[in-house]
Symmetry: C2
Subunit: 237 residues, 2 copies
DNA sequence: CCAAAAGTGTTAAGCTTACACCCATGT
DNA sequence: ACATGGGTGTAAGCTTAACACTTTTGG
């Protein structure tokens, strides 16, 4: 019959900026990715992205959601988006398996319960990765960095309310380079991505002016700066 | 058995700006998409994107290339890139079929031979489309417009050598809005996307100054303006 | 000489960065 | 008081859009 001998799996690259909580002063905030360690061959002991076989009556997004629910509380995932498909016929041994990858983002203060074989790993220091999962993480990171620049996607990494210095730390960790809090504020405020709540945080034990609190204006993904150039002519008022 | 009952197909949204040749003064240049008309049910008579079943030992890109070769000369396709996956379990009747979509671009002067059931259709005036192929075209168009702004992807739509007014017409058709040739020149020259050849075109029959000819600096896809904002700090020299 | 098409100059507006400076709080 | 962190002001540079103006050709 024409029944294909091909399986389809979904794999999620789930990021969180960890170590941003004021509780722990020692560790710097860093971007982490959710991985689980394989207990069986093939690639026993190596680390895998969460995911698995696509079910018969679900689309890709439902499938990722379902499978991630086994790892983290679904409510923690603030953003989920399709990335590339990996389709090399021999990317995994055995039955041919096509992988659709996703980018998932978990806001910073959340600390979901994890199964015993599952852990957050700093993206800057990944363990040995199974199959082609290493490049998948790299691809997701590239996409995240790009989208931080021209969308409001930061909402999915940040707490509901935050001081600007906290947001700076989060962007710093996610982007991988220094970010000036002053300019971050102005860029995001002019684009109406963040707004002041009116309240302020208490200052820390070492003093300092109390920080104004902000929140993201939308809790849904939005493109904020569509055209860098070649934008349509201005509409006459 | 665990043999899945799911097929995988690839579908290509192939664009070309047609009507840019000076031969035909009557028609304005417009963005067209390559479609073929279904001769059999389901959806007989409606128009489909080129593509088909993924072969057992090919990856997605090879598969699109192979299947497009049946429609157009492969050498004509200057750019091919993965778009989204459409995975609704009931997006087509019969065996469940997951569709991976691609964006393909054909440079302007080329006029490949087409099979009898296949035609170029203006994107602005699409015929009745089969299944979910309509939204796929829309999605590809959105991606094309975005990438024209921050990459050199125009090379895949333009002739190897061209006058600036020709390039303006191409961008105009692809973007869907007016483009100023003056500013297009400056933006693309500063980014080193296009360079002068040194030669000039002959002027048309109605006179006018002869146009300088340009070419794209790279014949490969390249991101030219990565960060609209939140770019890394300047490197000290 | 005139119309047509191409190319150049100029201005203004907007956005982003960098950095100096001022403000509010705890010890 | 003073150290510490937060916030504001400001200037410089770059990028783009808009449009007036000049150049080069054919009739």
């Amino acid at each position: 019959m024409s029944n294909s001998n091909t399986a389809h799996e979904v794999l999620a690259v789930v990021f969180q900026v960890r170590g941003v909580a004021p509780q722990d002063e020692s560790t710097k905030p860093a971007l982490h990715v959710l991985l689980w360690q394989r207990a069986l061959d093939p690639e026993r002991g190596k680390w895998s992205l969460p995911g698995g076989r696509l079910g018969a009556d679900e689309d890709l997004t439902s499938s990722v959601s379902r499978q991630l629910a086994e790892k983290v509380d679904l409510r923690e995932i603030a953003h989920l988006e399709q990335l590339a498909v990996f389709s090399d016929p021999h990317r995994v041994p055995g039955v041919r398996t096509i992988a659709s990858t996703f980018l998932g983002l978990v806001p910073s203060p959340a600390t979901p319960e994890l199964p015993p074989d599952t852990r957050w790993h700093p993206v800057a220091d990944l363990p040995p990765m199974a199959f082609d999962h290493g490049p998948m993480v790299a691809h997701a990171r590239t996409r995240l960095v790009a989208k931080l620049s021209y969308t409001n996607i930061g909402f999915a990494l940040a707490p509901t309310e935050f001081a600007l210095s906290t947001l700076r730390d989060i962007y710093h960790a996610a982007l991988g380079h220094q970010v000036d809090a002053t300019n971050l504020q102005r860029v995001l405020e002019r684009r109406k991505v963040i707004t002041r709540t009116g309240t302020t945080a208490r200052s820390g034990r070492s003093g300092g002016r109390p920080a104004a609190l902000y929140r993201f204006a939308d809790a849904r993904y939005r493109v904020t700066d569509e055209f860098a150039a070649l934008r349509p002519p201005a509409e006459p008022d």
